[in-house]
Structures are given as C-alpha cells and as structure tokens.
Subunit: 457 residues, 2 copies
Amino acid sequence: MNSAQHTDVVVVGAGLAGLTAARELVAAGKSVAVLEARERVGGRLLNHHLGDGRVTEIGGQFVGPTQDRVLALAKEVGVDTYQAAVPGETVYVNEGKAKRFSGHIPPDLFALPDMGLALARIGQAAAKISPHAPWEAAKARELDGMTYETWLRKAEITGDAVDMINLFLNSAYGGEARDASALFSLWYVSTFGDETHPGTMDRGTGTTGGAQDSRFVGGSQLVAQRMAVELDGRVHLSAPVRRISQDSTGVTVVSDAGDWRADRVVVAVPPVVASRIVWDPLLPAQQDQLLQRLPFGTLMKCVAVYDKPFWREDGLSGMGLLRGGSPIREMFDNTPPDGGPGVLMGFLGGKEWRKWAHRPAAERRGAVLRCFAQVVGDRAFDTVDYVEQDWTAERWTLGGPTSVAAPGVLADHGQWMGRPHGRVHWAGAEFSPYWNGYMDGAVRSGQHTAAELLHQI
Amino acid sequence: MNSAQHTDVVVVGAGLAGLTAARELVAAGKSVAVLEARERVGGRLLNHHLGDGRVTEIGGQFVGPTQDRVLALAKEVGVDTYQAAVPGETVYVNEGKAKRFSGHIPPDLFALPDMGLALARIGQAAAKISPHAPWEAAKARELDGMTYETWLRKAEITGDAVDMINLFLNSAYGGEARDASALFSLWYVSTFGDETHPGTMDRGTGTTGGAQDSRFVGGSQLVAQRMAVELDGRVHLSAPVRRISQDSTGVTVVSDAGDWRADRVVVAVPPVVASRIVWDPLLPAQQDQLLQRLPFGTLMKCVAVYDKPFWREDGLSGMGLLRGGSPIREMFDNTPPDGGPGVLMGFLGGKEWRKWAHRPAAERRGAVLRCFAQVVGDRAFDTVDYVEQDWTAERWTLGGPTSVAAPGVLADHGQWMGRPHGRVHWAGAEFSPYWNGYMDGAVRSGQHTAAELLHQI
C-alpha cells in the first residue's frame, strides 16, 4: 500500500469503453490511470498490418447509422470513415450451389417468404421490449423461459428462415439461436438503434444503411490508439489487474505493473474477464451470478490476402452468404480503401467454430478457402497471405464478439448489468442499451459511466 | 521456483472429490499435497454446531441407494448413516392451504394426473440418454436447443406439474426448468443411478429409497474431516491457488501458502472457481468456453433451531412441499439423530433466492418462518436459533448446489467436461456420469481421476 500510486480514478481496460471513460474524466479535470493488460490498446479492435502502411481489421470493424457516439468520437480524434460495401453482386451459396444476386434479398424462393414473415414477427416482438429494461417487458418471464430457436419455431418460422437467422447470429453472437434466450435476442434487436430510432433487425443485419455500412480509414483500432495518444502517458500497458479491494476510504487496484490507490474504479473489461479479477470484498452475489452467466460467443476471423481484389473485375462484391453446413457463413471484401492488396474476410463462428477451431491449421485453412472459392472462384486459393484471429484464445478477451445470455439470465439477473457496486463502476459494450456488443455501445457506456461517476465525486 | 516444494501430485481443493483423489494417490504410493483455500475441509459440505457435540448440516447432507461410492467411503472412515425420514405426515401447501398426507403422493387432485404423465415421459426420454455421453443421444441437438421448461410444455405437461418439477429443481439446481436445457435435465435424471441401475426421477426426488434416504451420523462434513486426518499433514489449509503453470517438465502451482512443483495436478474445485485460476498457458479454448457456461445455481439453506422437534408430537414428519410463490419450496426435519434439539431446514433456491437473498435479514427470516409455520404450526416462530448459509456468498464456492448447463452447452462443449489437459486432471461432482452434482458423484470422480492419473505416471 505504501508504494501505491494515487489517482482519482483507475480505469481497468483500454478498449473503446475504458478509453472513452478516461477521456471524459480527464476532460472534467480528474486524474486518471488506465491499466491495460495487453501491450496494446483497443481490446476487441485489432488492426492487421498488410505492409506499406495499409491495414485490415481482425477484430470489430463495421459502423453504421444511429451509431452516432462512435462516429462522433472518431471524428473528434480525426479518423475518417468510408463505405464498406463494394459495387458488384453478392453470392448466395446453398447446398453447394452458388447464385449471384444484387441488392439485399438472397435469391431463394423457398427461404424468402419465411424470412419476410420472420422479420415481421421479430420486429413486432422486439418493439415491445425496452432497450433499457428488457426484464420489465410484459412477457419477460415467458420469453426468458425459452431459447430464441424455440421462439422462432413457435412463431411458425421454418428451418430455412431459422438457418438464415443463424447465419447472422453466427457472426453477431459467435453462436446461434439455440444459445440465447428469446428475451435476450429480441432485446438485442431493440438495441439496434438509438433514442429516436427504435431498433430494427434490418438495421442490424444491413450493409449499406445498416450496421455494416461503413469502416474506419486506417482501421478501427486507430480510434483507440488516437485516444490513447491524447491521454498522454495515462495509459499503462502490460498492467493486468489481478485484484480490486475497496474499503471506506478508497479502492486499491493491484496490477502486474504496480498498485494504484484511487477514489473510484471503472471496470471496462468484458464480463467474463471481470469475473476473474479477485474481488475484495466479493461482488454482490447477484452481480457475480450475472457474470457467471454472460459467456462469450466463439468467433474466429479468417483473412485471405491477394495481390489485388480480383473478384471486383468479375462484377462481384466479395460478399457471400453461405447456408448451413458451411464453415464460413458470412464473408466480406476487406480490402483497404485505396484498393489493394485484395482481402477477403470470413467469420468462423458459433457451432462452426466449435467444429473447426481445433482441427489442424492446414485443414481449416483449406476448408475456409474452399468457402471463399465458392463465392469468388478458384483464384481464392492463390493467397499471398492467410491470417486467423481466434478471439477465444485471447487471454484478455476469452471469446467474441460479445457476451450472450441464455434463458433465465436477463429476467432474473439483468438489472445487475452495469450496476455500480460501492466505488466500482462498469463500462463496456455489454452494458449499453443501444448497440449492445458493438463499438457504439462501448463508447456510449464509457460516456454514461464517466457521467455517473462525475455526478458522485 | 527455487523455494517451491516438490511433490508428485498437487490436488487443488479439499472437498470430497479432491480428498478422495488424494487418498487413492497416497494409497498408490504417490507423494501428494492438497491445497485448500479455506480454513476447513469439505467444500460444499459444512456442519453447523448446535452445542453438546451435536451438529446439523448447512451444506450437502443426503445420501441414498446406488450412491455406493460415498457410502463405502463413509464406512471406511467410520462414519455411520441413519434414515433421514422421520415418522409422521408430510404437509403440502398450495395457495396458502396446508394439507397433511402420508406416503409420497401429495394430495392434489389437479396436479396428480399430470405429475404421473410427466414422470412417465421424463423417464422415457431420460432412458435414451447415456450418462457417459449425453451429446451422443440421437436427439441431442434438438434437446439442447430448448429449455427444460419448453420440453415439459411440449410434452403436454401442464403448469401444475411444471411447478412441482420446479419445486424439486429449486433445491436440486438452485434454479428452475427455465435455467437448464432439456438435454442437461434429462441427462441429469439419467445420472440418478449407477452402472446397473438406470437413473430414474423417483430415485432423485425420493426420500426413503431415494436420494434423500439417509444422512451421516456426525454430519456429512465428518467424512471429509476423517479423510483429511488420514492424509496426515498433506492437507494445507488457507492455501488458495492463484495460478497453475505447466511446462514440459512439470507443473507449478502458486498459492497464498507458497508454491508447489509437481508432476501432475488434480483440480477439484467447482467449474466456476477453476475458471478463475490464472492458467498458464490458457486452458484449451473449448474447455474455457465450457467453464464459462457452467454457472452455479443460487441456493441458501435456512435453518431454525428449537428446544425440541415439537412437530413430531403432532404426528408430523417436519417435511413440507410448498407450491409456487412460496420462498421456501421444500423443507425437512434436520434434527440430529438422537432427537434434539429440534431443527427445521428449508431451501431458498432459484428464483426465490433471486427475490429474497438480498432483502433485509429480518424480513427474510420472517418470510422463512411463516413458511415453516404453514407446515408445523405457529410454534415455528419460537426459535432458539436461526441460521442461514448462502452458498452464493462463499468465495470458494460461488453458488450452489451444483452447476447447471443452459441450452447449447452439453451438445457442443460437454465432451470437454473433465478432459485432462496436459498435466492437469479434473475432479468434482460436476464431472461424474452418476449422481452428478451429488456427494457420490464427487467421490466417484475423485476415484476415476486418481485411476486415470496413476495410469499415466
């Protein structure tokens, strides 16, 4: 304790949420130390360098309309955006057959009517759930008593449409409809918006005009890096926090890079990572129980690099939607904005991760490239480089892209999400009522927590 | 590392599983150090002293037929058993009305036919699931895509019967049918037996002839204490393990009471507690994901002590079954075997825990005693002592009575349960194919793991 450094607030975690909170606190005149376990900032945002100063992302990357908080923040730190979608046709792969199409609607006469019905029913149900307090919905307990898969089938949504929804959840949850409660999933849709735009499934799944509308020039991690530079020496890397002890006069934060003594602490690491800090005293039992019930999804990003984005010459956007049974369910053209080198990125998520993540690397690479080839042709095998980022193997994340609640969690434990505990405040994408699990949610929660804390000290 | 103590095997956790493993390893000539975080042994077994050498239990307490492993062990260490059931009528409370009855069948004309149907259908479905590999069941993915509540309703089991099943799950899971997958719950029933007696719901829920048949003279914790004495200095208390690092030549276990260097380690703490150890290298991602998905139930034991078991004079057994809406759903006469003082014990579990655990103590005590009074009359308020044991507040357990898997867990991650990882072996009630979550499962897993390990070193 004698050698502890003193500060008003310790922020644990230098992802978007923690850095945003720190930035607001510093602007309000507080002394702040940000303790980051890794040797880098950005959390679930991670640039991959392609050479010549070009990057592609192997973590979170997309932003879109109503994600005003992260868009405004990026503007403030001088990071531009660009349209993510590339002109050209998308490819829909079903039972090994690839079909090209334009626009948003996959060319599948069997799945389409059901998808229309599914989206309408999901929209109606999500509209009845408050993004701020899903546990107060009239049917909260009923909806939290079943999986989303059960709910979809009860709503007479058929196998084809359920598989299309799983295609989205594969990357959105790193899971599938089976893994989450109906209440969580309908609430999740309600978070795809802001105070004036109610959440919709279209906005969550959409490319242009939706959550996959835009990307950041220089890569999403640059937003975090710029904030860290602004924070000017206040961010301490390689400083994993092992213990948080609070008493009547303050809080002691024990890290591998020394101890800090502060008036308050903002914990801005993912729920499962937070649960593994030694808490002294323990968190309130309900909050610990909540953290026991917010497992991460399982997600790997698979990136193939080519001399150039050859598919564009063929009139293809590089985007692919692949039906059940395919290791990659969704893929995108991830080429840097100036057009080279060519980059294809696919999500290996949910049950496909569980099937593939621990097979030999060469076997998995082959399976991934075969998916890419179904979408853009056999030149997909002529890679310059191939990179995988398995978020489950990251000690300081432990999964991806976000935490997903099974039945029984939100209704009984949800109100403990982000609830301050003495001198401990919470921030993170998982604690936002809008764009929960997204970059915008992280920024929003960081701002909210800083305001909450400044109100109290 | 220089100051590390050397041993063949470190066992982490001195509950029944860890102590059993240690005992077998010592018998085979291995050097063993058992590191226990608490100042006591027994894990989820805990005696409460009533004075004059008498005890009652505020942790696990019941044993019954087919639980041969724990019964044999108790015999070996000289702990006797006695019949738990007390002569007299049981009380069934529904909508505030108490009815006395004899035998196993509650006097409820509305619930009964459905309960019969429910038990038959549960039995048929559970018989198709292997206790050893539930993920291989023909309908594994379908059953793991829904909650147990959904499955019960699909099987046309009505609200009354679902509530009766929840009454059992309230203490068995510290939860309800909504919290667990159908696959987990039907598998759980299949574990209520042994190699020659397939699991049945009756054996799980039953008093005489079932899992609540008998108790240990001197309290269940005595079995653990006797083993610890036998282990003669090999059990180190107040030694919480913080880090487990393995390399090609051995494993280093870092505890608050010093470091140990061993050839192998047996981790015999609950899954959520194990997940919070610092693992170096990380556990395989699938195993970490499994540990992220095995939250504890929420359970508190509420114990009222009286001069004598006055209800016996009224022809009551002290046992009560209370329908939905009641804080206590199930209660028992927990009087020591020689007949005094009188002890009533009730489970405050699942959603009732979530509702009551953090209300003011006096308010909760009042609610609990009102439940007791519905069963044994107003003398229930004349307590000599009142004790609560909230297992969620125990740092080295973090919930109770066992870990419960939501949908999507067993089918995709189940095969990682208890799978050795390099020099790390697993033991614990949660890793047993029979009486999973029970004392017998803990002993069985400890024996299994010791044998597995001895086969390798």
